[in-house]
Amino acid sequence: MEALADCIIPPDSETPGGKDSGCAVFIDRQLAGPYGRQEGLYLRPPFQIGAKNQGHQSEKGPAQAYREGLAALDGACKQQCGGKTFAELSDDDRVGVLKALEKSELKLEGVDGKSFFAQVVKDVQMGFFADPIYGGNRDMVAWKMIGYPGARYNYLDWVSRHNERFPLPPVGMTGSAQWTRS
């Protein structure tokens, strides 16, 4: 998962990538919680295949989809890349595999690889931009990168100051980045 997170959000000289910013931790926690179990959703049968615009119609929740999707991805990598799992591939090979997955050129066993990867991209990016309380966006790195000041609630002095950069650093729900233990 960490290897995937770093492909989706690669580290650069200013901002850490998906791995060091905690996106895999975010996804682990989300999948272990109500989201992963589809808690609160309507799960009564029958489960029928419908049109895409009728929405998700599966008994499987995201946790199970990730278990199956990640295993199938490793399976496909082993078969096509000399027995190596996804995490054992070089950076370039990883990106190559994901591009093929995105274009449906690489098929996964028993899993719709294209939609699984789209879900992973969405979740990794969500972890990057959500409040650090959820495990990603460590030290508010994503918010610093884009210039979002975080969980502030008063911009009265700033609403009419046009085209000026807001000067204050971001704060999260549990405080500022200085409180994070390294």
Partner: protein
């Protein structure tokens, strides 16, 4: 077997805006009123504390304040030939839950409908001829006029402290307001909110193109305000967490900030939360409601008897309760008979995102309020000649960006990869210099013979009752309307100085998975003829005169505006009819 509670004068089903308005009006009349709310109690200091409310993941992405589909959902299909499937997680709209209802997590956009919207069928037929309308379009007049509703619009605006600039004061058109609005008897109670940078740029560009832009009327207040009930609202701080969120700051008009603290002190009012009404009970004649049956959080069933039943749940749930209670004849699109479920509509929404040069533009897009915005109304309703365009209806367009919460507002220009190093750089370069109106194009949605609500043959809820089935698609008229409006809007965003545009039209098939608005309407509509409406002009059931049904379910079709102000005005209008006419002589207020 349900246990019976002591009889009340009035039982209210669902406690959002309309439930709170009716409860306050009828307790003023001295009646003993009980309200039943399916969801939990909610209030600002306990449920929306500042510091924990600015949480996009919890509230927007994971739907904290909304109903859970396992409690109740709907099935959906595009047309009568398709099999409807359950909406297993919410998408196109978000049903509210809990005390305050949608009034907790709305954006607080406070629009009046146009005078011509209330006489739509008559107006369009007179101007363009009946043949101009699509054959399967089933629009109707409302049975109430703008002039009749005006005092009630005014009352709701003053309850909420609405911030805005009047465009038509007693018939006199005023600069800076909406010149197309119907005449208003008083100015807005508070001045318009201050506008952030991108919103003012929209105003400037629109003016230069010959339009008359004005600030969107707002229930997030520009200044402190004490309402007629003596309740105080604080000035909005532009935190950008309105829609999907409760306001921690007492700045957004909601039942909690404008009515409840006054109402709950009355000894003739009581409320039961976590109590889901499953049926309206009627006597053997079928013409008189005896009260309601509800289930509490431990699964126990109770009966609440009352002389007067007010149905004031979210639009879809009003219709569902009528169908489950077998009140009114269910609509059948094949024979075109029956009324309950007829004229179901939504809103035709689209947007244009503009990407600007980040060396010249910094919008600080996170500084906003839910109803901030500069808009134009030249293309709403029948404000323009539709003759050359071949469609009817319209909407307002504007820069109504309500914040820039980072999960959903980190956009990249068209053609950028959706992940990887190039995506990351584009996010960084564009976040502060992108214009992303939530609903830049906010169009009407007219009614059609085969767009309707009925009970699903297959899927059941947790009580074993059939789910309600939505049959809904976008018709050619709305698609043309949206294309026209979206192109006009794109011209203005381009004139603001955007280098790249991402233009998104609303197209068929109607998609239940992507959010549009929660403005669902119809299914229990008001009108002048019991053959084509569930309610008379006072929102009274034609069939069961001691039942009144509030909310947007009464809209015969939807106009190009956000519905809440009209929903509130109709509640005051109906309450006045109950107080001044019905209570003196309980029975039908209009002869059928």
């Amino acid at each position: 077997m349900s246990r019976r509670l002591p009889r009340k004068d009035v039982v209210i089903v669902g406690f959002g805006w309309t439930g709170a308005i009716i409860a306050n009006e009828l307790t003023d009349e001295g009646l003993d009123v009980i309200a039943l709310e399916r969801g939990p109690w909610r209030d600002a200091p306990t449920d929306f504390p500042p510091g924990y409310m600015q949480d996009e993941l919890r509230y927007r992405i994971r739907h904290e304040l909304f109903l859970r589909p396992d409690q109740l959902t709907f099935t959906f299909r595009n047309n009568m030939g398709q099999t409807a499937l359950p909406i297993r997680s919410w998408g196109a709209f978000m049903p509210p839950n809990g005390v305050g209802g949608g009034g907790v997590h709305w954006n607080a956009e406070m629009w009046r409908f146009l005078p011509s919207d209330f006489v739509l069928k008559t107006h369009l037929t007179e101007r363009y001829g009946a043949a101009f309308l699509p054959a399967d379009m089933t629009i109707q007049d409302w049975g109430v006029t703008y002039d009749e509703l005006e005092p009630h619009y005014d009352r709701f605006e003053y309850l909420c402290g609405t911030s805005g600039t009047a465009g038509n004061l007693r018939g006199k058109i005023r600069d800076g307001g909406n010149p197309f609005e119907g005449p208003r008897s008083r100015p807005y109670p508070t001045p318009a909110q201050a506008q952030p940078f991108s919103h003012t740029l929209f105003g400037k560009a629109a003016r230069e193109l010959g339009y008359k832009p004005f600030p969107q009327p707002s229930g997030n207040l520009s200044q402190a305000y004490t309402n007629p009930l003596g309740l105080r609202l604080g000035p909005c701080t532009y935190c950008g967490f309105c829609e999907w969120f409760g306001c921690s700051n007492y700045s957004k008009a909601s039942p909690q900030t404008t009515i409840l603290p006054f109402l709950i002190r009355k000894s003739n009012f009581s409320l039961r939360d976590n109590s889901e009404v499953i049926r309206i009970n009627v006597d053997r004649s079928g013409k008189r409601a005896t009260g309601v049956t509800f289930v509490d959080s431990s699964g126990e069933e109770w009966e609440q008897q009352a002389d007067l039943v007010i149905l004031s749940a979210y639009a879809l749930f009003n219709v569902q309760l009528l169908l489950h209670s077998q009140i009114g004849q269910p609509y059948d699109p094949v024979t075109n008979t029956g009324v309950v479920g007829r004229n179901y509509t939504h809103q035709t929404i689209s947007s244009v995102n503009g990407f600007f040069d980040n060396k010249k533009f910094n919008f600080n897009p996170f500084i906003a309020s839910g109803s901030i915005g500069m808009c134009i109304d030249e293309f709403n309703g029948d404000n323009f000649d539709h003759g050359p365009h071949g469609f009817v209806g319209g909407g307002y367009v504007g820069q109504v960006q309500t914040g820039a919460r980072p999960i959903e507002s980190t956009l990249v220009p068209p053609g950028t990869p959706s992940w990887g190093a190039e995506w990351k750089k584009a996010v960084k370069d564009n976040y502060l210099s992108t214009v992303k109106p939530g609903t830049g194009v906010h169009g009407s949605f007219y009614a059609y013979r085969d767009i309707y609500l009925d009970l699903d043959p297959t899927y059941k809820d947790r009580f074993g009752r059939p789910l309600m089935r939505i049959t809904m698609d976008l018709k050619e008229n709305e698609i043309k309307q949206n294309k026209f409006l979206t192109d006009k809007f794109a011209e203005i965003v381009k004139a603001m100085g955007a280098e790249k545009l991402a233009v998104q039209y609303r197209t068929a098939p109607y998609d239940i998975t992507t959010y549009q608005t929660t403005h669902l309407n119809g299914g229990a509509i008001m009108g002048t003829d019991p053959k084509t409406s569930v309610l008379n002009r006072y929102l009274q059931s034609w069939d069961v005169p001691n039942l009144f049904v509030m909310g947007a379910s009464a809209f015969p079709q939807n106009a190009g505006y956000n519905p809440t102000l009209t929903v509130g005005a109709l509640a005051y209008w109906s309450a006045a009819a109950i107080r001044n006419q019905y209570l003196k002589n309980p029975g039908r207020l209009v002869d059928a």
